[in-house]
């Protein structure tokens, strides 16, 4: 059966909000519209009950106590609160001085982690940016090697957004607990897709987002450990003292209700969904690599999320490839559209050559992806790569046996 077009293979960017989530949210727009902080009437109580139910649903997904869940506007805010909040709380010297403490992160983190870390650097903290191996993974050994007596915070993503590669977070968590260092993980791509237990996995702070797991946009959460050890944060948003003073601002009750429902659905359906997506992803990768020459899947072969495939096609450029598969919504490793002309810094961090980093597609599957869609995607990509290679001067050079990476190009 031919799939309905266009096909959405960009679920790592955002997901469709599950209709069951939308249904749960609807009453909270114009029937149950109270402010959860209104303590003196039924409208407020009703809203508060809804928020607390969502907190329980979110906590259940990650093995936390509901009191350890702080609602935010999404992962960017959660990351900022965790990184800046923890660094400032555990700083070894007051603001305005240098030598305030050491923070460990990695070069292929999301910008919502890198940029807060760079701000910390400007504000007197030392930051180590670990380089992943060619498989894209940060190991506990790498983190141990970077630890210093003044290390106060480690912030590493659980799974990478471009590659789907999985860092050794539980092992890194155990290491951090041994050394009394706070571990924050940006688990935006991970939570809801993979089993998570903040106790077993030794997590202190964890960010995740509603819209990456079939919930609404504009709502996310930060897990903040309350015991063994109790993690404290300096707030960024000051005001009415909501969320135990860590995040002031009227609660986004409707969004939070949707977020909670999305967490519940993920918890119920994760196991089945994981297997189904893994099968589809493997079919997609095998279909492409078996039919296209000079084609590679980036990142570790197995230690990857079930839904993200990052594939490079030698000697064709990513943006033109996307233009050739216009019925397939996906994303390109090339940042050409942003006019920066820089290939993906994530692929570069893995040591993927420039010409391959420019020629990659990230295909991310989701709850509604089907086998027919995968078949269609393979055909469309094979056809587009062939079309572009008939035009590619680099492909000709490769076919003549010339190593393109050895040529002295005149960059302009």
């Amino acid at each position: 059966m031919a799939p309905k077009l266009p096909i959405y293979f960009d679920n790592a960017a955002t997901t469709r909000c599950d209709p069951r989530v939308v249904e749960a949210m609807l009453p909270y727009f114009s029937e149950k519209y109270g402010n959860s902080a209104s303590r003196n009437h039924s409208f407020g109580w009703e809203a508060e009950d809804a928020v607390e139910l969502a907190r329980e649903q979110a906590a259940a997904l990650i093995g936390a106590n509901p009191k350890e869940v702080i609602f935010t506007s999404g992962s960017t805010e959660s990351n900022n609160l965790a990184i800046k909040g923890a660094a400032n709380m555990y700083a070894k010297a007051p603001a305005g001085q240098t030598g305030r403490g050491h923070v460990i992160t990695a070069t292929h983190e999301h910008k919502a982690v890198l940029d807060p870390c760079k701000r910390l650097q400007r504000e007197g903290f030392d930051v180590t940016f670990l380089e992943p191996g060619a498989d894209g993974i940060i190991t506990a050994e790498m983190v141990a090697g970077a630890m210093r007596p003044d290390t106060i915070l480690v912030t590493l993503m659980w799974a990478n957004n471009e590659l789907g590669t999985i860092n050794e977070i539980p092992q890194i968590g155990a290491l951090c607990h041994q050394r009394d260092v706070v571990l924050h993980t940006d688990a935006t791509q991970w939570v809801g897709k993979m089993p998570t237990d903040v106790e077993r996995d030794c997590i202190d702070l964890m960010s995740w987002s509603g819209h990456k797991m079939y919930g609404p946009k504009g709502v996310g959460a930060l897990y903040v450990r309350r015991r063994k050890p109790r993690v404290r944060l300096e707030a960024i948003l000051d005001g009415g003292g909501h969320e135990r003073g860590m995040r002031s601002g009227t609660m986004n009750v409707t969004g939070i209700v949707g977020f909670g429902k999305a967490c519940e659905l993920c918890r119920q359906e994760m196991e089945h969904e994981r297997e189904r997506l893994l099968k589809l992803r493997r079919k997609l990768e095998a279909g492409l690599t078996s039919r296209i020459e000079v084609c590679q899947v980036n990142g570790h072969a197995d230690k990857r999320l079930p839904n993200i495939a990052n594939v490079s096609f030698g000697f064709v450029e990513g943006e033109s490839l996307m233009m050739g598969v216009k019925d397939l919504a996906c994303s390109s490793g090339s940042a050409c559209t942003s006019a920066s002309l820089e290939p993906s810094y994530v692929l570069k961090a893995l040591g993927v050559g420039d010409e391959l980093a420019h020629s990659s597609l990230r295909l991310s599957l989701g709850r509604w992806s089907t086998e027919e869609e995968v078949d269609f995607a393979i055909e469309a990509i094979v056809k587009a790569v062939e079309h572009l290679r008939t035009m590619s001067p680099l492909w000709d050079l490769h076919k003549e046996g010339i190593d393109v990476s050895k040529i002295q190009w005149q960059a302009h």
Binding site: E319, E355, S392, D396, E400
Partner: protein
């Protein structure tokens, strides 16, 4: 950002894709000028080849391009415009004309610049092979 209809048309039906031989063959052909500009790490490599007759007129032109849709369209368009022109006349093609014809947005202007550079490089290569003066009073490109 949506592409203009003309860019899409050139992408889907590129004009004059090809070359007049392998890289080593064209290097020895005096009637062919080759321009290769850009670099893989920048995400664009444009190769333009012109075949020039004894009257100094561009008889045929071929391109190959590794780059985004706008880069492909710019080089495809360049080959259309080059055919039948004298070398001096070809030197007068400006990137701004390509921008206008293809309705390129500001972030894609570099594609048109690359096309203009490849024209100039191909002509320079032809002139060098044939011991001709570099340029006959054509003004330098303004990027």
């Amino acid at each position: 950002m949506a592409y203009s209809d003309k860019v899409v048309d050139h992408y889907q039906h590129p004009r004059n894709v090809g070359s007049f031989g392998t890289s080593s063959e064209v290097a020895t052909r005096a009637d062919v000028g080759v321009g290769i500009v850009g670099a893989p790490e920048c995400g664009d490599v444009m190769q333009l080849q012109i075949k020039v007759n004894e009257h100094g007129v561009i008889e045929d032109a071929k391109f190959k391009c590794f780059g985004c849709g706008s880069a492909i369209a710019s080089s495809s368009l360049a080959t259309e415009w080059l055919k039948g022109r004298s070398l001096d006349d070809a030197m007068s093609i400006k990137n701004t004309q390509i921008v206008e014809e293809l309705s390129l947005p500001p972030v894609k202007i570099h594609c048109s610049v690359l096309a203009e550079d490849s024209i100039r490089a191909a002509i320079a290569d032809y002139r060098k092979k044939n011991g001709l003066a570099a340029e006959s009073a054509a003004p330098a490109a303004a990027h």
